[in-house]
């Protein structure tokens, strides 16, 4: 097989409830541009759309030539299309504050005079903290439900897989914590003569956290609501990378929407007397296209031509819509 059976457009109409889409792939294959294009398309369908970047090095501001760092802003003529680069520092500060309050409450609860600061510092300096803060941020945006459609310009996929894998682990942890909290609480009630059954904000937090995680997981693994798309070039390394990624995602039960091939040199621009350099690159691309059809087959959703300049600015992105979403 060497043609698209289910195009991007068809996939979208087959999944009318689709609400969360993600783009993954090796660096430099055009993930950000694809994400931008998908967001513009969704806005054109009349959906209020948010394009969010969770990548540690953002490039949305650069793509749309507008500062969207730390705040969502409209990025095109269509006022339904918003872009947003998540500011991690901000999230981390907020999470730190939350944790500090909870630890302080706990210390008072346990009649300890120790200061919380040291604990907070050592807990939040843990390098994994930033990663989970990002994940929380993403789920926050999803739960707020202020938009009809969400496009995430994902961090390099290994990270995304790990983040999603984490939601299972989170619920496991929280269950354990809840159990020991229950035990501690009943022990305390047994020991205290005067106090009645008092409120336990820490327990409430754990419970709500567990709910959030379960909710995030159910959204992210629902193939009617969510789809992960993978972008590649007709070159060997990006193909190898997404082949690995797609297998990981199947393992986690995360819905794979399909593959988008970017940067294909247009045959009609090439003649037999074109320079050796051009003919060789075309030959290489043809070999890799064979490979792509063979590996991904009916998962290929679109093949996008190599543009004569880099894709930048809302107008260029707009032009891409017709290619990614061929009628």
């Amino acid at each position: 097989m060497n043609q698209i059976t289910t195009s991007m457009t068809k996939y979208m109409s087959d999944h009318p409830k689709l609400k969360y889409i993600f783009f993954g792939g090796k660096g430099g294959v055009g993930k950000t541009v694809m994400a931008g294009t998908a967001a513009l398309w969704a806005a054109k369908q009349g959906k209020k759309t948010l394009l969010a970047s969770t990548n540690p090095v953002h490039s949305l501001s650069n793509l749309f030539e507008k500062d969207v760092f730390g705040k969502a802003a409209v990025v095109c003529d269509d006022d339904r299309c918003f872009a947003f680069e998540i500011d991690t520092k901000d999230t981390i500060e907020r999470s730190k504050q939350e944790i500090r309050e909870k630890i302080n409450w706990f210390l008072r609860f346990a009649d300890l005079t120790t200061k919380a600061d040291d604990f907070v510092e050592s807990a939040t300096m843990n390098p994994a903290f930033e990663e989970s803060a990002m994940f929380e941020n993403m789920t926050d945006i999803m739960f707020e439900d202020k938009y009809d459609f969400y496009v995430f310009d994902t961090a390099p996929t290994a990270n995304a897989r790990r983040l999603l894998g984490m939601s299972k682990v989170y619920s496991l942890w929280v269950e354990k914590m809840l159990k020991s909290r229950e035990e501690a609480k009943s022990l305390r009630e047994m020991l205290s003569f005067s106090k009645k059954n008092e409120a336990d904000p820490l327990m409430d937090y754990l419970l709500s956290f567990k709910d959030r995680m379960a909710r995030a997981q159910s959204l992210l693994t629902n193939d009617q609501l969510t789809a992960f798309f993978f972008a590649t070039l007709p070159e060997s390394l990006p193909i190898a990378v997404i082949t690995r990624f797609i297998n990981w995602f199947y393992e986690f039960g995360i819905p794979v929407g399909g593959v988008v091939v970017n940067g294909l040199i247009q045959q009609d621009q090439v003649a037999n007397d074109s320079p050796e350099f051009v003919l060789n690159r075309v030959k290489m691309q043809n070999e890799h296209m064979e490979e792509i059809w063979q590996i991904f087959g009916d998962k290929v959703r679109a093949v996008i031509p190599l543009f004569e300049t880099e894709v930048k600015g809302a107008r260029m992105v707009n032009r891409m819509v017709d290619y990614l979403f061929k009628p």
Binding site: K26, G27, G28, V29, N55, P56, V57, S59, N62, L63, D118, E121, S122, M125, N126, P127, A128, E130, S132, A155, P156, A158, N159, R162, L163, G165, M166, K168, V169, L172, W173, K176, E235, S236, L237, A240, V241, I265, Q266, Q269, V270, A271, D273, S274, P275, E276, F277, V278, N280, R281, K283, M284, H288, P305, L306, F307, E308, T309, E310, K312
Partner: protein, 326 residues
């Protein structure tokens, strides 16, 4: 402008033995790592090129499955390694199980504890410390003239670099807390003689980790021993991102040796019958090559042409190395 030669840098600073390529994803860092390893190995140096990136592509580039196999000989003097963090994490889990079994004289790990151990393995911090441990092992172990780090994409590289100092601080904090706790415990110490010995063992372990971290992060920021090269391409967004990243790297005191431009279209194409897309690309590149010349004045070490096909296999790696080092 004719760039300063990259090979000259290697000749002039033979003590710079730790080589790193940084830059946005997809610009050719791994390929450059492989080609540099090839060049140095041909000069008779013993070289290890290794990858800590779970998206690693050294296997694809050398056309040989090296993932998780330790240092693998590619050709005389050239060794390549892809770190399998998952395996290291499994080893940690095994160690923990063994310790529990030994300590409590159990025959089998209780299910409850087992699920804790399983859950801990999926913590991202676990994977990170596994990667970190592997890198420290490699560097501390020695045995090569050159070490080439195939760094992860930019944001992650920064993260990785900052991690060294974060871990350091973190361990300091924990060590302090432990020391304080030991003071509180002193009264009861006589009664809990065995336990006190255990606590000391933990403290010693933390100090050991700290020493290893200092050693490896020391190398990352050592101007004498480390060469850090930035890879970029003549495109506007890439130039902007590179500037942003270079600033951040400077903050971490990473010694920048210079910039290498990749994917430069051969200028002789201009005089030939070429397709429209290529004409426009050439014009665009010309524009941004000028920008690069101005912005990174005097710091460009090489300008590497776009190859006519992708760089995989030793034959293409040799071709690329010839273009990089002249």
């Amino acid at each position: 402008m004719v760039p300063i030669s990259l090979s000259k840098i290697f000749d002039e600073f033979p003590e710079r033995r730790y080589i790193m390529f940084g830059g946005k994803g997809g610009l050719g860092k791994t390929t450059f790592s492989a080609a540099t390893a090839y060049y140095l190995a041909k000069q008779g140096k013993r070289v290890l090129v290794f990858s800590v990136d779970p998206q690693a592509s050294l296997s694809d580039i050398f056309k040989k499955d090296i993932f998780g196999k330790g240092p693998t000989e590619i050709m005389p003097n050239l060794y390549a390694q892809e770190i399998d963090a998952d395996r290291r994490v499994k080893e940690y889990q095994q160690e923990i199980r063994k310790k529990i079994l030994d300590m409590y004289g159990m025959e089998k790990i209780p299910d409850e504890i087992e699920s804790y151990i399983q859950a801990a393995a999926a913590e991202p911090a676990m994977e990170e410390s596994a990667i970190f441990d592997e890198v420290v092992d490699i560097v501390v172990h020695g045995g090569y003239d050159y070490y080439i780090y195939d760094l992860v994409p930019l944001g992650h590289a920064l993260y990785y670099l900052s991690m060294a100092s974060v871990y350091d601080e973190w361990i300091d904090k924990i060590t302090n807390l432990r020391q304080q706790m030991r003071e509180y415990d002193q009264v009861a110490a006589v009664m809990k003689r065995d336990k006190e010995i255990d606590e000391d063992a933990i403290l010693n372990e933390l100090l050991y980790i700290k020493e290893r971290i200092n050693k490896s992060s020391g190398i990352l920021t050592d101007k004498e021993k480390t060469a850090f090269f930035f890879v970029l391409t003549p495109e506007e967004m890439i130039i902007n991102d590179t500037l942003k990243a270079a600033e951040l790297f400077a903050k971490f005191d990473v010694p920048l040796s210079g910039y290498i431009i990749n994917r430069v279209l051969p200028p002789e194409l201009k005089s030939q019958q070429i397709p429209e897309y290529l004409k426009n690309r050439l014009a665009m590149q010309d524009k941004y090559l000028k920008v690069i010349d101005e912005v990174f004045k005097g710091q460009i070490l090489a300008s590497v042409p776009e190859m006519e096909r992708d760089v995989t296999g030793l034959g293409m790696i040799e071709k690329l190395a010839d273009k990089m080092f002249y």
